[in-house]
């Protein structure tokens, strides 16, 4: 059976624009997201059995635009679409415009993951950014507007810098195809160095890495719970995957070293800032920054150890699912029902890195990798940040467990389903095998 990855992007885009004509926004969106999830799972099955999947649009590469899906990209597409589907169930009152923006954000995040063309990646980044600006400002109160404007100023500057990076890259290689560029990459040219710096800065804003993440706490605080959850598993995860691709394109030792030092700074500053927060959403946002640092550290080991790719996969998926659940829960005061208690406890355990959860395997493999590299200070930083995390999450649990919740029973289930995903991923060992086969990019 032939699977066309382009459908993953084309169908939500088409229905986002048809949405004003269709009256039942919620039902249509749920059907599309479910269909996309099934398509992504089928695509993963296909990629897993038959090797990477190409989709060529108009001309053959390196001239034409093309999509390229390998194991990790297919898994991320499944993750984004599945979590988007579960998350959408928790939205009670769906307006047509909201559904449009939501579909655009999901489609473009999937697009960033599966594209094989660097300018296409830029376009998808812009679609993701524009729809997330609008979604963050959805509530239209002071906080939401403040977060959205801050996000927008930084995001627009980032898009300009990214375009400069692409222009430099194009002037050097006369090509926009990621794999064509990767095969012809050599060291030394000032233009290439500059383009790496510009691209890293541009993508870094979306991926929430350290000096570029001033917008994160304000945007997450201003956004509604379901939107903060979408931001944490959609565009930001796609951004960190784009950084993985960027590191693979350039693949110099210096760029890995840079990623490592930025990752450690992001981790420590994010966790320490989270410890000081009073507002729940702000605390979760800073904790997200810390986890992004952890993911970046795992990326910086890609060249040195085989554990890095497994650690990357586990950290990314476990953080997406458990932070999504916590952001959904943050919309209400405290965990009243048993479903919410279960979701909250499982997600917090996964984020801290307690054994049966997926987050534990992420931290386990990253520490195994660091031991193989004999980089003891990385282990020290990770263990220290876990202690800080445990401290503030313990405080978070102790306050939220006592409070009552006032929400419909349906709203309590999406976070519980996300938490179950985290638990299943931690328990089922066959997924390790999947994660080990195939790198981030295999030309």
């Amino acid at each position: 059976m032939v699977i066309h990855p382009v459908l993953l992007i084309a169908i939500p885009l088409l229905f986002a624009f048809l949405m004003p004509l269709l009256k039942r926004a919620k039902a249509v969106t749920i059907i599309i997201l479910l269909f996309n999830t099934l398509l992504a799972i089928l695509m993963f099955h296909n990629v897993y059995n038959n090797g990477p999947l190409y989709e060529i649009i108009a001309f053959s590469p390196p001239i034409g635009i093309y999509l390229y899906v390998d194991n990790i990209a297919a898994l991320l597409a499944v993750m984004i679409n599945l979590l988007a589907f579960i998350n959408f169930l928790s939205v009670e009152k769906v307006e047509i415009k909201f559904a449009m923006l939501y579909l655009l954000a999901v489609a473009s995040s999937t697009g960033i993951v599966i594209t094989g063309d660097i300018f296409n990646m830029f376009v998808f980044f812009e679609i993701a950014a524009v729809s997330s600006y609008a979604l963050v400002a959805w509530k239209r109160d002071k906080e939401a507007l403040e977060g959205a404007i801050k996000y927008m100023v930084l995001g627009s500057i980032a898009s300009v810098l990214m375009l400069v990076g692409i222009a430099f890259l194009y002037s050097e290689f006369r090509s926009l195809n990621i794999y064509d560029i990767m095969n012809r990459m050599d060291e030394g040219s000032v233009l290439i160095l500059l383009s790496f710096a510009f691209l890293l800065t541009g993508i870094g804003v979306e991926a929430e890495i350290f000096p570029l993440n001033g917008w994160v706490p304000d945007a997450y605080q201003g956004a509604a719970g379901s939107i903060a959850s979408l931001l944490s598993f959609g565009p930001s995860k796609a951004g960190i995957y784009a950084i993985a691709r960027l590191l693979m394109i350039f693949s110099w030792q210096q760029s890995y070293d840079l990623a490592l030092s930025v990752g450690i700074m992001t981790l420590l500053i994010g966790e320490l800032a989270a410890f000081r927060q009073e507002n729940v959403k702000r605390m979760l946002a800073y904790s997200s920054i810390g986890q992004m640092g952890l993911i970046l550290i795992s990326l910086s080991m890609l060249d040195s150890t085989d554990y890095a790719i497994i650690a990357f996969f586990f950290l990314l998926v476990s953080h997406a699912a458990s932070k999504g659940a916590l952001f959904l829960l943050s919309e209400r005061k405290g965990f009243g029902s048993n479903a919410s208690k279960y979701a909250g406890i499982v997600s917090v355990m996964s984020l801290i890195g307690m054994p049966p959860m997926a987050g534990f395997w992420g931290k386990w493999y990253i520490i195994m990798g660091a031991m193989q590299m004999e980089a003891w200070w990385i282990i020290a930083a990770i263990v220290f940040s876990s202690v800080v995390e445990a401290a503030y999450f313990a405080r978070y649990l102790s306050t939220t467990m006592q409070e009552e919740e006032h929400a419909s029973i349906i709203a309590a289930y999406p976070p519980a389903i996300m938490a179950t995903l985290t638990l299943l991923l931690g328990i089922l060992p066959f997924i390790y095998k999947i994660a080990t086969i195939g790198g981030v990019i295999n030309g």
Binding site: E126, A134, A137, I149, I157, I166, Y170, L176
Partner: protein, 110 residues
């Protein structure tokens, strides 16, 4: 001649960055960002330029023509820039109605 264009690009980018850093009015910040975008678009066009080239329309008369790909990219970039700017201005209007000011300073609590 080509150096004059690169000088123009560098000045547009520098003016934009200067505006973003120093101005406190939200309108001026977004105008600066759009100046930066213009600079980058000019840069893409300049990269695709081939001396003596004509417009990339093939009719047999011309042998050298400029690289068409950057021009296509610039078209896309212009459309993206316009839509982001439109959304930004809507948000600035909303922000003004809520706060009765366009000053960005009180927003910034990093």
């Amino acid at each position: 001649m080509i150096w004059a264009i690169y000088f123009a690009i560098a000045s547009l980018l520098a003016i934009g960055i200067y505006g973003v850093i120093t101005k406190k009015n939200l309108m001026k910040i977004f105008i600066s960002i759009s100046i930066m975008e213009t600079g980058v678009n000019l840069m893409l066009i300049a990269i695709g330029y081939i001396p003596g080239g004509t417009a990339p329309i093939e009719n047999g008369d011309f042998t050298t023509y400029v690289d068409p790909l950057p021009q296509a990219l610039v078209l896309t970039a212009i459309v993206i820039g316009v839509s982001v700017l439109a959304l930004a201005l809507v948000m600035v209007i909303n922000y003004y109605e809520k706060n009765k000011t366009l000053e960005y300073r009180r927003l910034m609590k990093w």
